[in-house]
């Protein structure tokens, strides 16, 4: 660009800034720096890097799908621990866990860093009122994050799923107003079902701001003892990122699971 053109452009930008404020026109580089979305880190840096908002978004719905032992529950526990803490690392917020299949393990939650005193465990029965309960809890504006473990328990019941689909729009508004992050754990569905919109979580996925799929790749052993596993997180949908980036993750058992018999 010639010097004259550059000067004219700069003077035009200055005039716009004076009239409409400095936010009106920005360079692409500035825009990338400014666009900070309220988020909660998952504790896995590689995963946070691909989501486009440096973690899981607040005030929106996130879907995390994967088979058993793919690492989705560990990610959810770490996310809860991170959501409880403020920037200084002190426990400053309350979170909730919808334990629909009643398998929550407090011992594992503690090992993931969750403070049990600031965790509300909700175990509703499989009735449509459970969906209303979720909305009512979020509406109190006292929760920073809610994890639902796991979504298929709701979707297999026709009455509950119908209520969930009907209230998704309102739930999104409630989340946005309360600045609460909602993470739903889901089982994976084959791509062809997703493509044809035949999977039951299709509507939830449609309303989710972020959809991540977890997949276990390899078990990690040391001297014959199982120490953890390597997983791959793949971004299937994000409001902030184009494409389908993936991130490797390593999940290590912190003394909870031992591949040897002790009794």
């Amino acid at each position: 660009m010639s010097a004259t053109k550059r000067r004219r452009l700069e003077s035009a930008v200055t005039a716009i800034h004076e009239r409409y404020g400095p936010q009106a026109v920005r360079t692409g580089a500035e825009f990338r720096q400014v666009a900070a979305i309220p988020h909660i880190a998952t504790g896995f840096a590689a995963l946070d890097a691909i989501t486009g908002c440096q973690g899981l978004p607040m005030g929106a719905l996130t879907l995390l799908s994967g088979r058993t032992t793919s690492g989705k529950l560990t990610v959810a526990c770490k996310f809860l621990a991170s959501a409880q803490r403020d920037q200084r690392g002190d426990v400053a917020h309350t979170v909730a866990l919808f334990d629909l299949n009643r398998t929550a393990d407090p011992d594992y939650l503690v090992r993931c860093g969750v403070d049990l005193d600031a965790l509300l465990v909700v175990r509703p029965s499989l009735q449509p009122q459970a969906v209303d309960l979720l909305g009512d809890l979020v509406q109190q504006r006292r929760l920073r994050a809610v994890v639902i473990d796991c979504l298929p328990d709701w979707l297999t019941n026709r009455a509950v799923s119908r209520r969930l689909y009907a209230s998704l729009g309102r739930l999104q508004t409630q989340l946005r107003v309360a600045q609460c992050a909602l993470l739903m754990l889901d089982d994976p569905s084959p791509p062809w079902r997703r493509w044809l919109n035949l999977d039951k979580s299709g509507r939830v996925r449609w309303n989710a701001a972020l959809h991540i799929e977890m997949r276990r790749e390899q078990w990690l052993t040391e001297s014959g003892v199982l120490k953890g596993y390597r997983a791959q997180a793949r971004l299937l949908k994000s409001q902030w990122v184009y494409g389908f980036p993936s991130a490797p993750m390593e999940i290590r058992f912190n003394g909870t699971v031992k591949a040897r018999e002790t009794w």
């Binding site: 900070a36 920037q87 309350t94 407090p106």
Partner: protein, 406 residues
Amino acid sequence: MHSKMDDAIGILCCYVPNFLIASACCDQPGWTERPLALLGADERVVAVSAAARRSGVQIAVRAQAARLACPDLHLQPLNIQASQARQTAYLAALGEWELPVESQGWGLAYIDLNGIAHSTAAVQPLATDLGRRLRRTLGAALQPALGWDSSKFTARAAAMWAAPGRMKLVEQADVARFLAGQPISLLPLSPPHLQQLQWLGIHTLGQFAQLPATAVWQRFGAAGKLAQQWARGKDNRPVCGAAATTYPPVTVDIDPPTASLQPVMANLLASLQPLLRTQQGRMEGIRRLHLAYCFANGAESGSVLDFVYPVNQPARIEAALMQQLGAQPWPGALTSVRWTLLATGEVVVAQLSLFAAPASRVASLGDLARPLAERYGAVFFQAQQSNASHPLPERRSRFVDVPSLA
């Protein structure tokens, strides 16, 4: 007990509350209506308006954390040139009397009235004249609060007590009574020390002054001892004039020369430690530091590290140095770094209110569950670890009905 000589000393403290915010609002009057925070070069908040502070925004937090605390926050970069121009005008107005003036950072300065005025009757017309002149020069938004006493600390406490546009003159006989009711947070002690005092039930300078001196010295060290003397109204620091104190440069050799940041930082911090320890004892901090770099290929460069508020905490110095060295182009391996202290200042008080830290936002599980329990039944639980070392996972923990906890 003060001597006759001490009684003759008079120090006038000029204090413009929240100078940086007031200066920014002078340039942009529209900003006064919204919670405002100014960002420094390291993308951290350096100044917060009263409305933003009420929403929980604190100095030194990142922009994102500030936005989370206050979604309506108006975040703007600090215009350091404009603020410095106003500070220069402010100091020039103070210097018109041709008396020694000591600047202590943004909007805070001491004027030595020794030999000019020794009583409130004599100081009052002088202070009134100064206040009017400053208002004329800088505008109503930047009018100062004035405090007068025979010591620096009490003069500053008086200035901070007074509202902008007002003055508080403390007679020698009233010093103890005036200081006794002031908040402990006026002392520039470190936040952990202030918190300890709060836990001990010591909230005012009067309570702090009554503590045994040896106990204070044992628990809080030299800084605590000095702080207690100030709380008792004994502060014999003179007003140092505009002539800047010069400090000798210190050269840090990096052997072997390296292009890596870690060894350079370790050497630099080690060389700065004695200075920081001395400054912590005097409750002073670094305001300006010059760094000169020599590289193996013969190239030399330099940079100046400016702190908005004086700093003597090693962690903050380390973070600032890390950022400065990281931003500096390194044409080769670094052989030596020479640092020169250009300016120091009093450490800014950590907290200017009697209120403790903001209440925790951890909502009680009972408060969350109780309103919904009637409608949804006993579906709310709290997980508890009953026996963390039990070999069977199911015996290590249990779930307790939340409403029954209450």
